[in-house]
């Protein structure tokens, strides 16, 4: 111990490193969170541009703006990017930035594994997107059904990029899930019992459990496909005894929980924002927690509703229709609790609150169409039509993305120290509301008028109504895109010259508002004592407006520095090695596979055995001042 103590007395390494190197090596959950947010915002822009090209192509019947070959790549990459590389990592960004603060922790349980998660996601995403320049992007949909994803129907490397890219990003996500389960179970400050945790921390916990159980079947699926495509195995090849529905089952056993991985963190954010700006504690906290857990369980019992038209017969379809509809009950509980949190409050409509309140009607529409889709015999008509496209965007944009944006306006000051401009924010909100509904509401009609999904174009024979609603939808998509120009300009402007936020700009309730903005590297100068739900609000209203330390200063009266994990380049090198091996596998270059794996395993070895003294940081001032 003495040797370690001597070493940690040395200068923190981060100061000695260059700026770029300090980001590549960081294990600080806040910096990792920022990089998650940055990278996924870039992927979001890419996915958005793909969506605009799709809408231009569909603006009128028989359009030739893009070829069918390119169109198939566009819709595949749009879905894959938005789900795996944009919305999910945006939430992981907020989770990284905020959850350790909400539970009064120094960092996550495994800081370097956290860095590895980040780099696997970033490099996996880059690998997947590099397919555009290296032989063509994947073109079998984000669901990538066998057998159209198999070599005989899809010889190009696109599907291999999908397979390897998502393996990399998926391992990263899986480790994030493990990390936050461990963090939330083990690292809560004294007094933070489970039933005092903020709702965002609760939804993060349930989301992490979903990740833990949902990603392995998907990883298995990706490996089976890789064996089939790259090594001549026959898991999905019916000519050799394989089975094409195996992919569908494993995919949706993952894919449906994935939907809840994309919405539960939004539920958490909405709960935080609505309570804060209604100036009330969350209504029905216990039932909110129970509903979150119930949704988490039910998420694993409904996957066949994606496969109602596979002909499994009335017993299977009925069973999965019932479990699917059951999810409406806990979800409804949440909606009512949010409304009654506002009830009797003093609601302040900041931009964050606008997004949180706007979330409710949009998500209710998505939920309603969800119940309708759950009715298997009716789904025979909706399935694979634009009705489903409408539904899923009401849930993913009206639900998840509205949650992301509410979180962005709410936590931006905590993350950067500056307040986003409210006027630009309100432009963003209203244009988004108009653009979103104009884009996606007509898609309900398009589905009922017989337009299937994933068609590169449609015939004028489908009639003027189909052409009309498609044009309306395309116009809406551009309004939606313009709304985001306001957002990006706002980000840019605020980072340059935004108003300083101060520690607690919203008169917040959870612990993250008790410390300066941005949070210091060590988060809390002293581990706080939690004295109630809405921990910070309790101190402001019933205490003296300061956090209490969980332990008194040490007996000798001396103040000790804070021991922090030191950074490491190895997480980045592990991810880089696996990425190199991935390119090798895609192009059949065994030497490259070997180089990549050697780099990865060398780095894993170094990361495990190298002595990590950590760093001692001196806190500046106390908390809650």
């Amino acid at each position: 111990m003495a040797a370690i103590a001597e070493r940690v007395g040395a200068q923190p390494k981060a100061h000695a490193q260059g700026y770029l190197m300090s980001w590549l090596t960081t294990a600080d959950h806040k910096r990792i969170g920022i990089m998650y947010l940055l990278a996924s915002t870039l992927f979001f822009v890419v996915g958005g541009l793909e969506a605009l090209m799709i809408r231009i192509q569909l603006s009128h019947p028989g359009n030739t703006f893009v070829s069918p070959t390119l169109y198939d790549q566009l819709f595949t990459m749009h879905g894959t990017t938005m789900i795996f590389l944009a919305v999910m990592p945006l939430f992981i960004g907020f989770i990284n930035c905020i959850v350790p603060l909400q539970i009064g922790a120094r960092d996550v349980a495994f800081p370097r594994m956290n860095a590895l998660s980040l780099w696997l996601f970033v490099l996996g995403g880059i690998l997947l997107n590099s397919s555009w320049f290296l032989g063509g992007a994947p073109n079998a949909g984000w669901f990538n059904y066998a057998p159209i994803s198999l070599t005989p129907f899809n010889p190009g490397p696109g599907i291999d990029f999908y397979d390897i890219g998502l393996q990399l990003a998926g391992i990263g996500t899986l480790m994030t899930g493990i990390n936050f389960i461990a963090t939330i179970i083990n690292m809560r400050a004294p007094g933070m019992s489970l039933m005092r945790m903020p709702l965002f921390t609760w939804t993060t916990f349930v989301t992490s459990v979903l990740i833990l159980f949902a990603f392995p079947p998907f990883t298995v699926n990706l490996f089976l496909l890789m064996f089939d495509r790259l090594m001549g195995a026959n898991f999905f090849n019916i000519a050799k005894g394989g089975n094409v529905l195996l992919w569908q089952h494993l995919f949706w056993i993952f894919g449906h929980p994935e939907v809840y991985i994309l919405i539960l963190p939004a539920f958490g954010i909405i709960s935080e924002v609505i309570a804060t700006f209604s100036r009330k504690t969350l209504f029905g906290y216990d039932s909110m927690v129970l509903a979150t857990i119930a949704i988490g369980f039910l998420a694993f019992t409904v996957w066949v509703h994606h496969m109602f038209v596979d002909g499994f017969g009335p017993y299977v379809n009925s069973l999965f229709a019932i479990t699917t509809m059951a999810i409406a009950v806990p979800t409804g509980v949440k909606i009512f609790n949010w409304i009654f949190t506002m009830w009797g409050g003093k609601i302040k409509f900041t931009t964050a609150m606008l997004f949180a309140t706007g979330f409710i009607p949009l998500f209710v529409i998505g939920g309603i169409s969800g119940v309708m889709l759950a009715m298997a015999p009716a789904d025979f008509q909706y399935n694979d039509s634009y009705f489903v496209v409408a539904h899923l965007h009401y849930v993913l944009i009206g639900g998840s993305l509205m949650g992301v944006l509410a979180g962005a306006y709410y936590w931006f000051p905590k993350i950067t120290g500056r307040l986003l401009n409210e006027t630009l924010g309100k432009w963003h909100f209203w244009l988004l509301m108009i653009g979103f509904n104009v884009t996606f509401f007509p898609m309900h009609f398009l589905g009922l008028l017989g337009m299937p999904r994933r068609v590169a174009t449609y015939s004028a024979a489908l009639g003027p109504a189909v052409a009309f609603w498609n044009l309306v939808s395309t116009i809406g998509a551009f309004i939606l895109a313009i709304s985001f120009l306001f957002f990006f300009y706002n980000l840019f402007k605020t980072l340059r010259s935004g108003e300083r936020a101060g520690p607690d700009p919203w008169d917040g309730r959870a612990l993250e508002w008790a410390i300066s903005s941005p949070a210091p590297v060590y988060n809390f100068a002293q581990t706080p004592l939690i004295r109630g739900r809405d921990a910070w609000w309790v101190e402001k209203t019933e205490g003296d407006g300061r956090l209490r330390a969980a332990e008194a200063e040490s007996a000798d009266g001396q103040h000790h520095g804070i021991h922090m994990p030191s950074g490491s380049i190895y997480p980045f090198l592990i991810a880089l090695g696996l990425m190199i091996a991935g390119y090798g596998a895609i192009f059949g270059l065994l030497l490259l596979v070997a180089i990549g794996l050697v780099l990865a395993f060398f780095s894993i070895h170094r990361m495990i055995v190298a002595e990590d003294p950590g760093e001692i940081v001196e806190p500046v001032g106390g908390d809650g001042e």
């Binding site: 409804g332 009512f336 009715m375 999904r453």
Partner: protein
Amino acid sequence: MRPVGRLLSGLRWPALLTVLAVALSGCGSYFTSPASVLAPAGPVAARQLSLIQISLYIMLGIFVIVIGLWGWAIIRYRARRNDTREVSRSTGDSRLEILWTVVPLLIVIYLTVLTVQTEFYLTREPNPATSLQVSVTGHQFFWQFQYPGLGISTVHNLYIPVGEKVNLTLTSADVIHSFWVPELGGKTDAIPGYHTYMWLEASRAGSYFGECAQFCGVGHYLMHMTVIALPPAQFQAWVKSMQKKTSSSSAWALEGTRLVAAR
């Protein structure tokens, strides 16, 4: 309320109703297509549409209630200038919470009953002795129809008799396709290595737009078909003429058979 009341009495109702009527009459054309779920032409699609309608009306009712509460909350409880109200200290209300758990549960149970009834009705196999059997095979990118009892095979056009249940057994020669004729009924996937099953019936003569609904490759958007429902007598005549053509073994027929077999 008073301004609203004044607005209501001040509106020129006859003029407004005229505008509304014109809009509604024009409305029809925005909700029609040759492949509309909303215009069923047989018992399967009709049953599905009624399920869609019942659930839609119930859901609209829920939407109105939820959005009413939501709207009331955000208007009534927004912070105003010089707002001296005390913020409610309520943290929950178990009676309310039980209410909004139990009522949705009852609604869901009702919808479940309808769902299961319809599901079993649609999947109950009609008597094979009295119904026409057709084997449907999806190919990239066309549909092939074989009438095993009649020795007929067609591509692209499915001929069926009006008022008779038609048993379809589906499979695929390559990737997964999905058979969809919206006006006659919902989809069933055609899956390689599997035989899936559905039945359809056309209540009136006509041709119905059909398509592949499952993404099946670069030509997916072109994979259309037409279901042609003929009165029974005409259908029998078509069967006879087809059997004659098939037995004549013309060069065209042989070439067609060879091409299909080569897929």
